[in-house]
Chain length 608, copies 2
């Protein structure tokens, strides 16, 4: 099975076309400017005198911020040449290369500080940073053929091989934060050098062998935090720090494909089922708890305190995308889609320059700062996106994600073209041309045009789709409709609003429903609904009013419901309660909190 990389595809118009346009025109610069202001780029110079003169100090993970920005900007370059972006990237690469040590080492913190502690603290992100530098180097090389950064990372990886594999003189065996494992597979794919694949395998195969004692901060972490609890092939549930977990699973899937490793694939499949069936918010959000930014237990999906880091959710979809590239099971792409349209893209403002790290499913402003007796406050997610974070991993992650979203579209295998997702787009590679004309997910109709030497065309029919129409005969298998190859196929997934409920095991959602339109989760906001949105309940037999909305990029929806009238009593007999009929106005969840601070709610009580 072979993935068709995003750079063969132009996505124009439609949902993702607009998102990419904003990302190229606004987000690239917005992230760059904030990182420049906060000295993240200056730090790459490794100039201690400058730090002291200006009174700042690099953080141990700033290399990854710079690298992810480079990677995101490089993806934008695949769409169109941009000299300003290239100049900025070249400047950064020069800083890095000028500071790379003789032996290949490079880290903006450890080049300058604690130089005797390099590779001694497992959780100090040196290999994580290198992983992102590799991804940036691969991306920038592909976009421009400039290989300076690639040279840096290859020299650096050689040092890592020497210290970790050959001499075994590093202070730990596997990195505290996974990332380099998947990056090494990319480097292998670009260069064809097996040593990179072997280093990735070394890290993956070494994980889960009781290395936790070697972990910094081990006084409060458990072995699950860095997925150390079991050898990776024996893992069956998503555990620990959710971003680390997903980066591990992505690498496992990559290796499963490259090495044809059924045991690795099997573990990935079990873990993904665990996520999809028990540990994922309806938004595709994962990692319920801010304590350890972590997965907790099955069905623990609290809405207001949902941590659901943007990076984790988008990484979940990237993990799914890798799984789809191994085996075309509808579940994989279904989960990817749920994460793509909801808890990933909610991480960036519609304007493209502000970001959420956490993506809660309820924002109840009345709960914030409520303890008047002490200065201690209960912790809640922030309620408005911000321009940059102290730990600002999410903004450049969203940047590289949106600009490479085309990676999700297609794989091909043995004469079959797999169409996993739907975006208005045209794809050209080798002698093949594929295009989709669609307003998906505003509308369920897709015209698929395929000119290529395929025998079969398999299109995913999302599990939420209850009525699938196609212009040609097909047979269904594992969530995909298989057609004999033909130039044009018209598909219709018949997207219309529907109410969804949770498993009874999600206790907080008892008696509540959420509105979806295709893969898109909706929410209600105070700004669109008079009075207190927490007094509202919906009639599930409503006739929906669906209206296109250019600000949100997808329709807004109105449904019938009612508001509980406040009698003024704190408690009253149920017979005395009055309800006022109300139109309840929904917007797409990803667009929440784009119009000032306001209450927001996904799961709404049902009133029949």
């Amino acid at each position: 099975m072979k993935q068709i990389p995003f750079y063969h595809t132009r996505i124009e118009g439609g949902f993702w076309g607009e998102k990419q346009k904003t990302s190229r025109e606004v987000t690239v610069d917005a992230v760059y400017d904030r990182f420049k202001e906060t000295k993240r780029f200056e730090a790459m110079k490794c100039d201690r005198e400058q730090h002291e003169r200006e009174g700042w100090k690099p953080h141990i993970f700033w290399d990854s911020d710079a690298a992810k920005w480079i990677e995101g900007a490089a993806y934008a370059l695949e769409y169109e040449k941009n000299e300003e972006f290239e100049d900025k990237i070249d400047g950064l690469v020069d800083m890095m290369c000028n500071s790379q040590l003789e032996n290949g080492y490079y880290n903006a913190y450890y080049n300058v500080y604690d130089t005797d502690k390099r590779f001694t603290v497992r959780d100090h992100h040196e290999l994580y940073c290198l992983g992102h530098l590799i991804e940036a180097a691969v991306a920038y090389y592909h976009a421009t053929k400039k290989d300076k950064l690639l040279g840096l990372v290859e020299r650096y990886v050689d040092l890592v091989i020497k210290l970790f594999v050959e001499e075994k003189t590093a202070g730990f065996v596997t990195p505290g934060h996974e990332e380099i494992e998947l990056a090494l597979v990319r480097l292998y794919r670009l260069t064809g050098k097996r040593k990179y694949l072997e280093l990735s395998e070394f890290f993956i195969n070494s994980r889960g062998n009781n290395e936790t004692d070697n972990f910094c901060r081990c006084d409060w972490m458990t072995e699950r935090y860095p997925q150390d609890h079991l050898p990776v092939r024996e893992q069956t549930t998503a555990e620990g720090h959710s971003v680390r977990a997903m980066y591990l699973y992505m690498a496992m899937a990559d290796l499963a494909l490259e090495c044809n490793d059924e045991a690795l694939f099997g573990a990935c499949d079990k873990i993904l089922h665990n996520v999809a069936e028990k540990r994922m918010y309806i938004t595709g959000g994962i990692g319920s708890s801010h304590i350890g930014e972590a997965f907790t237990v099955d069905y623990d999906l609290k809405n207001e305190h949902a941590y659901t880091e943007t990076c984790a959710t988008l990484a979940l979809s990237l993990f799914c995308q890798r799984m789809s590239a191994i085996r075309p099971l509808g579940l994989y792409a279904d989960v990817a889609e749920q994460a793509m349209y909801n808890g990933s893209i909610s991480g960036v403002s519609i304007k493209g320059d502000e970001f959420f790290y956490e993506n809660p499913l309820t924002i109840d402003l009345s709960n914030h700062d409520k303890n008047t007796a002490t200065k201690d406050k209960e912790r809640y997610p922030i309620t408005q996106r911000v321009r940059v974070f102290d730990c600002s991993c999410c903004p450049p992650n969203i940047l590289r994600y949106v600009n490479s979203i085309g990676n999700f579209l297609y794989t091909e295998d043995n004469g079959t073209l797999y169409v996993h997702h739907y975006m208005n787009s045209s794809t050209e590679f080798e002698d093949k041309k594929i295009s989709q004309t669609t307003l998906y997910p505003s509308c369920g109709k897709v015209r698929l045009t395929v000119n290529g030497n395929y025998r079969k065309i398999a299109v995913r029919v999302p599990s939420w789709c209850k009525k699938f129409d196609a212009s040609a005969p097909y047979s269904m298998e594992n969530g995909y409709a298989y057609f004999d190859a033909t130039e044009v196929i018209d598909l219709d997934f018949n997207i219309s609003p529907r109410f969804v409920v949770s498993s009874p095991s999600v206790h907080e959602n008892a008696g509540k429903t959420a509105l979806m339109l295709g893969p898109v989760v909706y929410c209600i906001e105070g700004v669109d609904n008079e009075g207190d949105i927490f007094s509202l309940s919906v009639n599930t037999d409503t006739v929906f009013e669906v209206k296109q909305d250019s600000f949100f990029g997808l329709p807004v929806i109105a449904a019938d419901g009612c508001a509980k009238v406040d009698s003024g009593s704190l408690y009253s007999d149920i017979d005395s309660v009055k309800y006022e009929p109300r139109k309840i106005n929904f917007i797409p969840y990803y667009a929440m909190e784009n119009r000032g601070e306001t209450d927001m709610l996904v799961w709404i009580p049902v009133k029949n």
Copy 2:
């Protein structure tokens, strides 16, 4: 208006008769034994050598534990003589008196440690402990006429007057934890000495004058924590540490009565309305947050994390009882009753020897210890009562509360007898005899027999009572039915189960209902309901099955409802959800968690 003290009343049989019997026969000893084991009583000897030899040290508030046990046991003595109780009390009083300093000072910690720091740290509970010693002395003197402890506290109070009022040489003006203010009113009432009343007034009138800077731990507390935010007569909302707040309001009400202080009464009335209308759980529980054990903001009434300390809830009812003794407004006794039958008495096990400090309205065991990635855990209330706490204020508070519950029954004023509460009981004082024959609150019928020189008899008709029948004509005023005095009046409050809902401003209870029987809140427990109780919803048009239950002392109730069937999917279309009809079995909330650890829920989704 004059309160008829509990010691004129024998409560036999019925709900409170049983509770008092258990309290006398089990709780007195249970609390005594635990306090003895934990050295709380030995500490009263103030023998530093013993501490060092045995390796323990008294806490700054252990005097109050000893005092509250004495007070509770003294109340049991009013019911019947018990030489063992008296011997134990006398032993404790001897220890204390032997350790009292020349100048009158006595504190089991500061007698021995930090002797130069007496009365320097506002939050170190010396005056709080003295307050409880006063209450114990008054109670024990009344029960036995033994005045040794009374002598101790009178000498000690004289020292306090000297240091705080005359010389003003203490390190602070008002105590960090209120209690002495209300105790001094009791001491005044017993002795007739105005200096005690005046000292109480001094403390009350001095509060709210920017003394917070003088408060220990002021780095995390605000001025609301010890009710310092405004002069007391200007306070309108219940603020800060909920037990401190209630003890303050009790004293304010006492002084309002003694001094005919309308401004104080007005503040109390406003505060009580704020509590009843915006800050009280349906169980009468108050103080939502464990952060500062405090009131937060209006309508912040989270169920699972409800702090609702037993002491706070029972103090709320005692505050109400004082308010009823000033002005007979139904609201006051209604709130008292809601606290009495629910969040107060839930603090003790049915057996009488185990205690809750916190009284949550939801226990969802699946949420506990759910973070597998770190050793940090989210905080939840404990799920089973324990025999003693490190800070064990609640157990002896429940003891003195239950054994003096008769205080709630009657006040008289200008020829009118006010009947505020209903308990099977007989009361004799002066030449008067009053009795109630009733199974209240299992049944709403009460036969009231009054032989006394009254012109009117006013009986409270609880606000939850929708149909009130009486054997004689009456007129209603402020929640009381006024009858011309007659020997026998038959009352019927027609108690039957009813569903109650919250104000829409209590966001967590949207779409949910609670079951009540008269003043008693019900809950469902896992042990009585097959499967997951969080999958259940109730039909509000159910026919109730009400069955007497001797274990709980009140009926158990079954209602029709249904269970959401688990389809195995985390999310599914609402049309595909199946519900199974179920009998839902309710027990009284106060009896929760008496049969092993089990899920518990008060607010249940409504399914029509």
